[in-house]
């Protein structure tokens, strides 16, 4: 079963072709990692999938529905959600309110639009559940700007989950984390992948080869290879373009 079906996707910035005629099917199961040397067009590809950028050519189908060029708030409604490489939170709100913002929209708030938000019990309950699952319930009342970086990354993930997605795209979930924090996030991602389709853009090779079911290698905006972790590790082209240089 395919989840994403991508046909001839192309995006140019002036003379630079950041994504070059990518055609690809992504299945519904497991964790897919997107890797590639710097400037390979990973982030552009990611932004195209999540509606942050509009493609110049090509189509994106999600579960058979055309989502090409849809705006972020529309993409969300198909069941796609994303986290951010640079943590993107509502800095002046508490941790709990950060989650509430998403939850209240997902639960539908026409009927409680003008209710005091701290009295919206259904929202609070769902938000606390999410925080508990992530192990952050004890931080609920702290300002989001004041908690440690690792927790902020997890909060970013929690906020992404508030939209009830089936597919979640993570943009460099490991960026700037310590070893202990990396372990915590890895466990969370594994847990998440039991219930969600997870697509990751990541530089951290330990994570990529440790947990991915599939790996997609991009190079100069085009697909270089796709396969299981073992296949990619053994692929000479990939080594030449990417791994070899990285080791050296």
């Amino acid at each position: 079963m395919t989840l994403f079906s991508i046909q001839g996707l192309t995006k140019r910035f002036g003379a630079l072709t950041a994504t070059n005629n990518v055609t690809l099917d992504i299945g519904r199961e497991g964790i897919l990692s997107i890797i590639g040397p710097n400037g390979a067009g990973k982030t552009t590809f990611f932004n195209l999938l999540t509606g942050f950028l509009k493609p110049d050519e090509g189509k994106i189908f999600y579960k058979g529905q055309d989502v090409t060029g849809k705006k972020p708030y529309q993409i969300i409604r198909y069941g796609i959600s994303r986290s951010f490489q640079v943590v993107s939170l509502f800095e002046e709100m508490t941790v709990l309110d950060n989650v509430r913002v998403g939850v209240q929209r997902t639960l539908g708030f026409m009927n409680r639009m003008f209710l005091n938000y701290s009295h919206a019990d259904a929202v609070t309950k769902k938000a606390m559940e999410l925080l508990e699952e992530a192990g952050m319930a004890d931080m609920a009342d702290l300002p989001a700007a004041s908690i440690p970086h690792g927790d902020r990354k997890i909060l970013d993930l929690c906020v992404a989950l508030t939209t009830n997605p089936e597919t979640i795209l993570l943009d460099e979930p490991m960026a700037g984390l310590s070893k202990a924090e990396r372990f915590r996030i890895t466990q969370l991602i594994k847990k998440l992948s039991e219930t969600h389709k997870v697509i990751i853009v990541e530089h951290d090779m330990d994570l990529v080869f440790g947990i991915s079911d599939h790996i997609l290698v991009l190079h100069h905006g085009a697909i270089l290879a796709m396969g299981s972790a073992g296949e990619i590790a053994a692929n000479e082209e990939v080594q030449a373009a990417y791994l070899g240089r990285e080791v050296a």
Binding site: R77, F90, E91, E92, V101, Q104, R105, F114, V159, A160
Partner: protein, 314 residues
């Protein structure tokens, strides 16, 4: 309900009730009424600036259009002698104008948003200042009188003051309820991180449009009451410098961090404008300089200075 004493609004309301009985200033009833109207206007303005982060630097447009709408409704349609009809006219025109502008510029941000609103208010100013046939042009509109409302004579300034006070109470409670509601939380999310809001499924443009319309309705209401207060309408309230006063007062008071900031700010501005000016002609020099000094030391304004203290109390 001993909790009510902890509510700042309670003390603000109490202060407003006592105002006409205060020594010296109490005699200036129209000053007090103007203050109440400024409270309503700046609170509604802060729904845009402080809550949603919309730099609506031409917000005076909706206030001024409310004033003109009330005057025109009174002079042309109010043959029935209704007191409420001009006010409703002001609200409607304020809301419609804000909805129109809000829809046009719902995707604009920052400086561009601000300047589009300034352009709008200047165009309104031009229309009111020059379209002699309808708006009276430079001479403005006059001859509006306050009729009886439910048998109560509004001609008396003190009665009208308490009528405006009642309107202010309703508006303040409603606006605070909005800013603390789920809708208000969504608006805050738009201000703090509009990209993330979009990725939570919010159609940010529509929210900006909605809050802008709402705010325009309140601004139109206060403008209509201002028309009844001065019993006239002049185009100078539509000039962009007047809108600038509102933004500065709100920011000075601390509207970006506190719901009560606009009230503090308009209190300071109106007192300076009306009392300080009677002592020294060049009061604007002091006001302008204090604005610069306070804001460069405390970018979040006067309420921002007290914010840390208040947080510890909670």
């Amino acid at each position: 309900m001993s909790k009510i004493y902890k509510d700042p609004l309670f003390w603000i309301f109490l202060g407003c009730i006592c105002y006409p009985f205060l020594p010296y200033v109490g005699n200036f009833t129209s000053l007090g009424t103007e203050l109440l109207l400024w409270f309503i206007f700046t609170l509604s303005f802060n729904l845009c600036l402080g809550q949603t982060g919309l730099p609506s630097f031409g917000h005076g447009a909706f206030y001024g259009m409310g004033t003109y709408a009330a005057a025109i409704v009174f002079l042309r349609l109010s043959a029935s002698g209704s007191f409420v009809l001009p006010i409703l006219g002001g609200i409607a025109v304020g809301a419609v104008a804000a909805a129109f502008l809000g829809w046009l510029i719902r995707e604009k941000r920052g400086v561009y948003f601000a300047m589009m609103t300034v352009a709008f208010t200047q165009v309104c100013f031009g229309i009111c200042f020059r379209w002699d046939e309808v708006t009276g042009g430079e001479a403005g509109l006059s001859g509006i009188s306050r009729l009886d409302f439910l048998g109560i004579p509004m001609r008396d300034p003190v009665t009208f003051y308490y009528f405006c006070f009642a309107v202010f109470v309703v508006c303040a409670i409603v606006i605070r309820a909005i800013s603390r509601s789920c809708f208000g939380l969504s608006l805050q999310s738009v201000r703090q991180n509009y990209i993330r809001s979009q990725y939570l499924g919010y159609n940010v443009g529509v929210y900006k449009f909605a809050v802008y319309t709402l705010s325009g309705a309140f601004a139109g209401l206060s403008g209509a009451l201002y028309c009844l207060l001065t019993q006239s309408a002049f185009a100078d309230i539509l000039d962009w410098t007047k809108s600038g006063d509102v933004v500065m007062a709100t920011l000075l008071g601390g509207g970006t961090v506190s719901f009560y900031g606009p009230i503090v700010g308009s209190l300071i501005f109106i007192i300076c404008k009306n009392l300080l000016s009677s002592l020294w002609d060049h009061w604007l020099f002091i006001y302008g300089l204090s604005f610069v000094v306070i804001l460069s030391l405390f970018p979040t304004g006067i309420m921002g200075m007290f914010r840390k203290k208040a947080k510890k109390k909670d």
